[in-house]
Symmetry: C2
Subunit: 176 residues, 2 copies
DNA sequence: AGGAGCGGAGAACGATCGTTCCCGCAGTCG
DNA sequence: CGACTGCGGGAACGATCGTTCTCCGCTCCT
């Protein structure tokens, strides 16, 4: 097992555990057990828990954004509506537990890593990019409210319904 | 200082600290220092941290719901729109940091107290009550998405704007 | 073959957590 | 006046945290 595979196993374990149980509730020893990577190597690759947390969120941000981008690009729907179809699938995943970035911010507050804010800014900029060119500039922010709202509602009652409700509203906004 | 005042001081300190820093990041000793209530009394009134957390969330739920109800009742606006005006004021409070219940759920996951789920069910039922009688039944869920979305967006970029964007969307839904 | 160095397993360390215990004082009743 | 009760202040306890250290076996180079 080289360093790159160790990094992958560590981030896999960190993502699974941090996302499911929260960050502070998961100790480094549990990540070591779940990943099979010895502590010494763990601390060589990520010198402190904080850097592992940041790496976990950064990888999740890259994957999340990429998956959304690709799904929207591949969809026959208008881009903005394709977002909500993608959300419906995400919310139906068995281990869905809300937005990892919002959860991290709620737990860590001002101590949350910068990537949390970056992630939300990226999302807003994607929505602005996908909004029809003729739309009023406030549309992106309205869509952002719908996306965040569907995610927050789904966090406590999982399933595709919140995404469908948000999509209905988005259709009305687009038709206006 | 009798037990009732001690309870108030404990819940005040717990609310301030838990909401600002997260639950796991705040130790019982910090609550003792902030409240001035000795540890012994603290543990007589709340036999474990978990019960203090639950009491904090339950009081916050009562106050939040009551404030929203009263503000909506006193408003000249249609009830549903008055909700967003109230949100705009809430988001502008200097220590606003998102929904305490969603934050607790994100941090504690399945270990979160029941009041988290109760709070969200109450909110949905209030919106259903305030929606026009002639509206389609899905409206309450759409409004819930808007309220949660505005709150989530405001958590990371505070101020009244998310509530205004959500209100614009709600007006369109009502006019339809 | 032999020694030098790296990496794995897990013990150990100091800090901090939630919780309990001890002690000393203040007030009360006989 | 003196014994008892109850409470506050804070030390203490066991567990667990993030992090470091020790030990040992393996590998690799000459």
């Amino acid at each position: 097992m080289d360093d790159e595979e160790a990094r992958t196993r560590l981030l896999d374990a960190a993502e699974e555990l941090f996302y499911r149980h929260g960050i502070q509730a998961v100790g480094m020893d549990r990540i070591r057990t779940a990943s099979g990577v010895p502590l010494k190597r763990l601390y060589r690759l990520y010198p402190a828990k904080e850097s592992l947390v940041t790496a976990y969120l950064e990888r999740r941000d890259r994957r999340w954004t990429t998956s959304l981008r690709e799904s929207v690009a591949a969809s026959a729907q208008p881009p903005v509506l394709a977002v909500f179809d993608w959300l419906a699938r995400w919310f139906s995943e068995p281990d869905f537990r809300g937005c990892a970035f919002l959860n991290a911010y709620g737990e860590l507050g001002a101590a949350a890593p910068e990537v949390v804010r970056v992630h939300k800014a990226e999302l807003r900029s994607l929505l602005a990019e996908w909004a029809p060119a003729a739309a009023p500039p406030a549309l992106a922010d309205q869509l952002l409210v719908l996306v965040e709202g569907a995610t927050a509602v789904a966090a406590l009652s999982p399933g595709p319904e919140p995404a469908r409700r948000a999509r209905e509203v988005a259709e009305i906004l687009l038709a206006k």
